[in-house]
């Protein structure tokens, strides 16, 4: 939901153009000077928030390395304190003091982590994959891998081990910004490895989600993660204290590779010629999904000023009946190339679909993509994923299932113990609880129902040798932990591969042909045939160029109005990009960008030739700047010049400015702040 409040719309004549132009240039210069070395602003933030013993050093790699060393030291200290805590009684004087120290260390670790992420986002730090940049057109920033200290002796030669901790910055995904690296502690398992706590939390989250959705067997969230929990907790029980294997276990973060690039080249709103539309250059791609109606999302609805556009694609018809599955997509790929839309005058704002009447029809459009499918659902991306990515992300499942199969056997006795633990100690009580809790189970209670038996009936029994674990099994679980740790280290590189492929797909030219049938209330209806091109450019697709070229043809030219068959020829070009993170933002997690665009068009209107008071050659140019001034609040500013309009030869210079509020973004950041405050 976005509310716009225009403070002023000013139309200026030639005589006032100079003044407006000077004011605009001055404002732009001030903004650019303030914004451009965004790195200076970000470094100031780092110096404010983190201890900076390097003083004025500009070597970001050295700074990152220093933070990484501090990070590793803090984690080791935390591990040592956790071990000490597990060895003393909760009633002892040291217990609360130690607990407090651990909490303080958690804060320090979190701050250091944020510092490292900020450093890795600075323009002069080039070790990470270049990102697709966020902006008003929704091109999204792929999060950089963040640095973490190498804790394994096997990888001691690496300067900085890279880990991926989930999307934290930029774009619309601010709701997942607090990545829950440290899940809530469990009183019955106070010294649990962080990966165990995270997995317990994951299981509980999934169970609650499925229970609320009314799914049968919501406990699947636990059942399907229990074996992984059993392996990690077995490692906790058997790995020697102070061993590098144990340090590796306590550094595991349950990492998954999650890519973060979105495509933004679809135009859902009306074409540039529809009344009320603000975009001057059409975008070539077509929306791929359709459903039965606007309400179920199958037909997309876009309201712009005084018109509403409904759009869809031929693929949507197939997907509506067969389901939008990968199989349907593969079998109907050609249909994804054809998009249709219709724009209606918006007279009834209370019931938008009711405006879809013949009388209110302004135009309908058929768009056909000529270039290939460059989405992640394309055959090309799937083949890439199968060949290059799947072997990498399969490492953790291979390590876990291989160990389980080899050591949890009837012969070793561990398989019987495991089945008893899973079926009788964990799932039976969990089922009983979920039956009574209905659709509103408590996450905390669920983690206790899984985590407490895991501790008392498994970890403690293994430690006390009540469950016999051979030396061979102990060695194998250590190797499994190392394999998983190695896979986590690789996650950043895997993400780079994915993002590079997505960037490569996104950078390809998109070419489409569009046919528009224009209904004119007063005048002659006409058709427009256009070639649409889009190309993302720049190292991280931070520039985008859109170009259109087309010809309009009257259906029935009115000779009395000097109309011929060909109405006009039009070419349009736009360049859009992002400048930098707005320096006015105060929330560290908000990476909203200052964005700018240049748009120009030329139209040769044949019926205006030799007509007094009109021009046949119509040119216009627009410059637009959007500056986020607070989180969720943007200041758009635009200057438009046209030498004439279709009906008047008077040139026009217009300056628009206003304020835009994005309630969704404000809410997401408010929720993120709450999560951070609650994190232990």
């Amino acid at each position: 939901m976005t509310a716009q409040s225009g403070l002023a719309i000013v139309s200026l004549r030639r005589a006032q153009m100079k003044v407006a132009g000077r004011v605009f240039l001055l404002l732009s210069a001030l903004v650019m000077l303030a914004a451009w070395p965004a790195s200076a602003q970000q470094m100031a933030t780092i110096k404010r928030n983190g201890s900076d013993s390097l003083g004025g050093k500009e070597n970001f790699r050295a700074l990152l390395k220093e933070r990484a060393v501090q990070f590793e030291a803090a984690q080791k200290r935390r591990l040592a304190l956790l071990r000490y805590l597990s060895s003393i009684s909760p009633s002892s004087a040291d217990f609360n003091v130690t607990l407090q120290s651990i909490k303080e260390l958690d804060t320090t670790i979190s701050t250091l982590k944020q510092d490292m992420e900020r450093i890795s986002l600075l323009p002069s730090y080039s070790s990470g994959q270049p990102e697709a940049v966020s902006g008003r057109h929704g091109k999204d920033r792929a999060p950089r891998p963040t640095a973490r200290p190498n804790s394994s002796s096997a990888n001691s030669k690496k300067d900085v081990a890279v880990k991926y901790s989930g999307p934290l910055k930029g774009r619309a995904d601010l709701s997942s910004a607090s990545s829950a690296i440290i899940a809530p502690a469990l009183a019955c398992y106070p010294d649990a490895p962080p990966v165990v706590l995270t997995l317990l939390n994951d299981a509980a989250t999934i169970i609650v989600d499925r229970a609320r959705a009314g799914q049968s067997d919501p406990s699947d969230g636990a059942t399907s993660l229990l074996n992984e929990l059993i392996v990690y907790s077995l490692a906790d029980a058997v790995l020697p204290a102070d061993s590098t294997d144990r340090i590796s276990l306590f550094n595991l973060k349950r990492i998954e590779v999650r890519a973060e690039t979105k495509r933004t080249d679809k135009q859902v709103g009306a074409s540039p010629t529809a009344g009320g539309n603000t975009s001057e250059v059409e975008k070539p791609n077509v929306p791929a999904t359709l459903g039965a109606a606007v309400e179920n999302g199958s037909v997309k609805q876009s309201v712009s000023g005084t018109s509403v556009t409904f759009s869809s694609s031929l693929y949507a018809v197939a997907a509506a009946s067969k389901g939008d599955t990968a199989t349907t997509y593969k079998n109907n790929e050609p249909l994804t190339r054809i998009g249709v839309s219709a724009t209606f005058a918006l007279e009834n704002k209370d019931d938008v679909p009711a405006n879809a009447t013949r009388k209110q029809l302004e135009e309908w459009v058929v768009r056909a993509r000529v270039s290939g499918d460059n989405s992640t659902r394309s055959e090309e991306f799937e083949e890439f994923w199968q060949e290059k990515i799947r072997p990498r992300i399969d490492r953790i499942p291979r390590a876990l299932t291989g160990f389980l199969r080899s050591d949890f056997t009837k012969v070793s006795g561990l398989e019987d113990e495991r089945r008893d633990l899973v079926d009788n100690r964990i799932l039976t009580p969990l089922d009983a609880y979920l039956t009574t809790a209905g659709t509103n189970p408590d996450t905390r209670r669920i983690t206790e129902l899984i985590g407490c038996p895991l501790k008392t009936e498994w970890v403690d029994r293994v430690k006390s040798s009540d469950v016999a674990v051979s030396d061979e099994t102990r060695n194998k679980v250590a190797r499994a932990v190392q394999e998983i740790a190695a896979s986590e280290l690789e996650a950043g590189d895997t993400l780079k591969l994915i993002n590079a492929k997505i960037d490569e797909l996104n950078s390809r030219m998109i070419t489409s042909l569009a046919y528009t049938n224009k209904r004119v209330a007063m005048g002659s209806d006409y058709s427009i045939v256009k070639l649409l091109l889009e190309k993302k450019m720049g190292k991280s697709s931070d520039w985008q160029m859109d170009a259109n070229a087309g010809v309009s043809i009257y259906h029935k030219p009115d000779r009395t109005m000097n109309q011929q068959s060909i109405r006009d020829i039009i070419v349009a070009l736009s360049l859009e990009g992002n400048a930098a993170r707005s320096p006015f933002l105060t929330k560290d997690l908000d990476e909203s960008q200052i964005t700018y665009s240049f748009k120009g068009s030329y139209q040769r209107m044949l019926e205006n030739r030799h007509v007094a008071g009109r021009k046949a050659d119509i040119a216009s140019a627009q410059f637009k700047l959007e500056i986020p001034i607070f989180t969720g609040v943007t200041l758009p500013f635009s200057l438009t010049y046209s030498n004439s309009t279709e009906t008047s030869r008077e040139d026009r210079f217009r300056a628009n400015f206003g304020i835009t509020f994005d309630a969704d973004k404000l809410l997401r950041l408010r929720n993120t702040d709450s999560k951070d405050a609650l994190a232990p």
Binding site: T223, R258, W385, R405, K410, V422
Partner: protein, 113 residues
């Protein structure tokens, strides 16, 4: 094959198990690992895997599904697992589902003899 739970099944000796992973609103970015080995799909649309039970009585085959959602997949994108055995009950069972909004995109499954 009998379904005890979505992620736990009892199987017979030499039984053939067929697993399908249906992707909705996302590409076929799912894989199946069994007992430490990545499995090759026998069919791609939908992703289909087959294997034969080879463990003895009292032992278990351990499997895991690992999924991936690119960011341009909508929030309601998901993978749904279906399983079917060749002996005993040959019902096509509904297994685990993995949604893009889940905190973890990995699920275990076990086949007990």
């Amino acid at each position: 094959m009998d379904q005890i739970r979505r992620a736990i099944y009892t199987v017979a000796a030499s039984e053939k198990v067929i697993i399908e992973i249906e992707a909705t609103k996302v590409g076929n970015f799912a894989s199946f690992v069994l007992d430490g080995e990545s499995q090759k799909p026998v069919k791609n649309n939908p992703l289909t895997y087959e294997f034969t039970i080879s463990v003895g009585a009292g032992d278990t085959h351990f499997g895991m599904f690992q999924c991936f959602f690119p960011a341009d997949a909508p929030d309601d994108a998901n993978f749904q697992v279906f399983l079917q055995g060749s002996k005993g009950k040959t019902t096509k069972y509904t297994g685990s589902d993995i949604k893009k909004t889940d905190p973890i995109w990995r699920r275990g499954v076990e086949f007990r003899r």
